[in-house]
Amino acid sequence: MKTLSLDTALAACSVAIADGDKILAREWIDLPRGHAERLFDLIGAVEAAAGLTAKQMDRMAVTVGPGTFTGLRVGLAAAKGLALAVGCPLIGLSTLHTVALGARQEMAGKGGLLTVAFDARRDEVYHQTFDHTLTPLTDPVIARRAEAARDILSLAKEKDAPLTWLGTGAPILMPLLDGLGEISQSANQPDAGCLALFANHLEDVAPYPAEPLYLRAPDAKLPKTRLFKT
């Protein structure tokens, strides 16, 4: 089983190819802007390094958000085009879950809960909590910082388990809970390598549709009252 995976939803651009349990090639660059221009350079590079082409893939995988609306659409549109042209399934995974995958070893070793949180600005965070096997315990959501902290605390109490934090939202939320838990040493950005391995191991791809996960409504206001009645 071979998967080509990509992520452009946040402040990096990453692409990988994995065959079964093995990552054959992986590129990861810190890139706040310019995903649309750089993405296919990286795809070409991992294909060359793996000695494979897109047409030889069994699956494609992509992060679907939450992230920047533009960024997540750059990767998702590219992945949709690739999957359509290759004729293979496309797996979509949230950026929160993809980041959690990077902490697999760490969590297997120490147990407890893993909360992944990203700064969503406007006093909000995106967050999702997983058990030590990285099975999601909550859905990915957007919430006010205080509300998110409250919910995470009550889940940690309910499960009576130590808490590990990961993501750009961790240093925002942790102080709101008097430093509860500890910050993970794993990477706080999605890594396409982890995503490709995850996709290779899926038996059923149906629960992971490649649909955007915006978590925020479009910024649009309905017009004011009309000038005249008719």
Binding site: A36, F69, P223, L227
Partner: protein
Amino acid sequence: MSAPLTILGIETSCDETAVAVLRGTPDARPQILSHLVLSQIAAHAPYGGVVPEIAARAHIEALDDLIAAALKEAELTFSDLTAIAATAGPGLVGGVIVGLMTAKGIAHAQNLPLVGVNHLEGHALSVRLTEEATFPYLLLLVSGGHCQLLAVEGPGNYHLYGATIDDAVGEAFDKTAKMLNLPYPGGPSVERAALAGDPARFDLPRPLIHRPGRDFSFSGLKTAVRHAAEGLGKERLEPQDVADLAASFQAAATDVLANRAAHAMARFIEDYPGATRTLVVAGGVAANQHLRSHLEAAAAARDFALIAPPLQYCTDNAAMIAWAGLELFALGHRDTLALSPRARWPLDQKANHPGAKV
């Protein structure tokens, strides 16, 4: 004659998701093997205009299935294609990104050449999808986002004669419709309301009409419509008021367009003395029948033939993108997969005109 090219075209720069497949050569009218347009009008209607983020979301939801449907209708697979053409700008960049990145994905996986098409060039060449129009010709490009007069010498070769200094004419139609409480999109609804109206009831200005040159201005006209409506001193406009205001606005806008086109025809004759005299009108506002009949008269007075693409190729569509892609491809044009989506992209890159930047 060269071998026929088979081109898949993708258009996502505003509020239509569109895909088409063409086969042909630049020297004859192509076979349009499929031509699908998914309109987002209903999604934007409550806002009285296109909301960029709503548009981008709708494009990414629909585009891959629409591509599959267009190929199926054409009874082709990706391996039958010569190249992929996608709008790379100008327009709402969120939508442009969706179409261009999807096109890059297909081009990469199938090892197909990519041609990034300027949306305006799609409109500029659209007439050649169905009509005999030899270069050079004079183009009046009128839509919700654009209002320009250009001499078209060939693909990639345009000379700007004039452009709007404020609003596009389609924008003026939309804003007038909004003011008169007519449904979105404003172009067709103003035209429909005007059918029952008296174009002479309100004496609206014809901006710039007594000045030389080929530029347009519509923001003053839009304001004049509002003053005329407020001048009635009514809280509620009667249907006849709405019809008369719509007709008066449409007449004024048409007079401006016809006058500026006449000045451009004079310039075209100077620049291309031996050329066939052809005035092409394209873009969504070219669907307006009142405008077409007045342009027809203005053209006839100067021995120009007016040619307009059929309505379905005047409004945004992907057949025109595939066609522009075909013409450019035949001239050797190729883009790399590093191509940037562009919000702004003037057709005449030499021109330094504020109205030509989009």
